[in-house]
Symmetry: C2
Subunit: 168 residues, 2 copies
DNA sequence: TCTATTTTTCAATTATTTTTGAAACTTCAG
DNA sequence: CTGAAGTTTCAAAAATAATTGAAAAATAGA
C-alpha cells in the first residue's frame, strides 16, 4: 500500500470513529493528520490536505488545543503559526480521560448529589426505586472517578502491566 | 425535593449526558425513565411521560433492546407490551462496554491491521512517522481490548476492590 | 375467518450541528 | 505609521440527525 493512500484512509477512518466519541469528524481528522505528520503543519497545510475552509481549521484547532491534544509550535524565521500533535498515544488517552472526566463525570456526580433527598414515604415503591437508582449510580460514578484519577496519574507500563496480569 | 421534580430533572440530565456518549437524547431519556420506574412501562406510558411520538418511542426502544439495556416484559392478562430496564448499574456499564467494544474498538483494530505495510524506504521520515503512529495505536488498542474483555468478565466487587487497592 | 388493538415502518418535516467565506482584527517588517 | 501577511470571528448556508404521524403490518381474541 502506498503512503498517501494509507494516510488518506487513516484520516478518513479516524474521523468516522471520532463521531462515535462525541468528537466531530473534522476535529478528529485534523488530529489524525497531525499525529501522522513528521513535521508541524500550518493552517494552510491542513486546509489543503483536508479540503476544508480556513474558519473550520481555525475553530477545530482551537478546540484541539483546549483538549490539550495539539500544540502551537514556533518555527524560527517563519511568520506563520505551526501546529503539532502529541504523538505518545498513552498521553493522548490520558489527556482525553482527564478532560472527559472534568466535562462529564464530575458534573454528573454533582447533579446526583442534589437528587438525593426526596420528600415522602421512604417505603413507597416509586420513591424507593428512584433513590436506589440514583444512589447506585452515584456510588458507581464515585468509584469510576477514583479509578480514573488513578489511571491518569499512573505510569503507562506499570498500569498496563498490572492490569494485564489481573485479567490474564 | 418532590419525587416528580427530581425524576424530571434526572431524566432531562441523563438525556443531556447521553449526547456526550454518542447516544441520542431521547434514547437516553427513555433509558433513564425506565431505570427509575418501579414497574414496567408501555410505549403509551413513555409517550406521555416524555411527550414524544409513538414512532420515536418505538425506534429508540428497539435500539435499547439491541444494546441489551432494556427488556420486553409480558404482563399476564395484558395485550400491550411492557418494557423494563436493567437496574444493576454494574451490568449496565458492562453491557455498554461490551457493545461499544464490538462496534468501535474491534473495527478500528481491524482497520489498523490493514494499514501496516507501507511501500517505500523505511528510513523516510514520513513513512516512519506514519507506521510508528499506526503501530503504537494498534498496540494501545489491543491492550485496551484485552483489558475490557477482562473487565466485562470480572465480578463487580472483585474488580472494583482490586482496582481501588491499586490506586489508593 | 374477521376485526379491533397494538406495533412497526418510513417519507416528509423539523431541529441541530457543522461548514463556509468574507469581514474584522492582529501582528509585524519596513 | 502603513500595509501585507496571518488569524479570528460569526452570520448565513449546507449537511446531518432526530422526530413526527399516518399508513402498513402484525397480533390475538371472538
Amino acid at each position: 500500500m502506498k503512503l498517501e493512500e494509507a494516510q488518506q484512509q487513516f484520516i478518513a477512518s479516524w474521523g468516522a470513529f471520532g463521531t462515535y466519541w462525541g468528537i466531530n469528524r473534522t476535529m478528529a481528522q485534523i488530529h489524525a493528520l497531525l499525529m501522522i505528520s513528521a513535521d508541524p503543519l500550518s493552517q494552510d497545510d491542513m486546509m489543503e490536505r483536508l479540503s476544508i475552509s480556513r474558519g473550520n481549521v481555525n475553530m477545530n484547532i482551537r478546540d484541539l488545543i483546549d483538549w490539550g491534544l495539539v500544540n502551537r509550535v514556533l518555527i524560527p524565521g517563519e511568520r506563520k503559526e505551526y501546529f503539532s500533535a502529541e504523538k505518545d498515544i498513552w498521553k493522548v488517552a490520558t489527556q482525553i480521560v482527564k478532560e472527559r472526566k472534568k466535562r462529564e463525570l464530575d458534573p454528573m456526580l454533582r447533579l446526583l448529589d442534589q437528587l438525593g433527598e426526596i420528600e415522602g414515604d421512604k417505603k413507597d415503591k416509586h420513591i424507593k426505586q428512584f433513590t436506589e437508582t440514583v444512589s447506585s449510580i452515584k456510588r458507581f460514578g464515585s468509584q469510576t472517578d477514583k479509578m480514573l484519577d488513578g489511571l491518569v496519574k499512573a505510569d503507562e507500563n506499570w498500569f498496563l502491566g498490572n492490569l494485564m496480569k489481573m485479567f490474564r
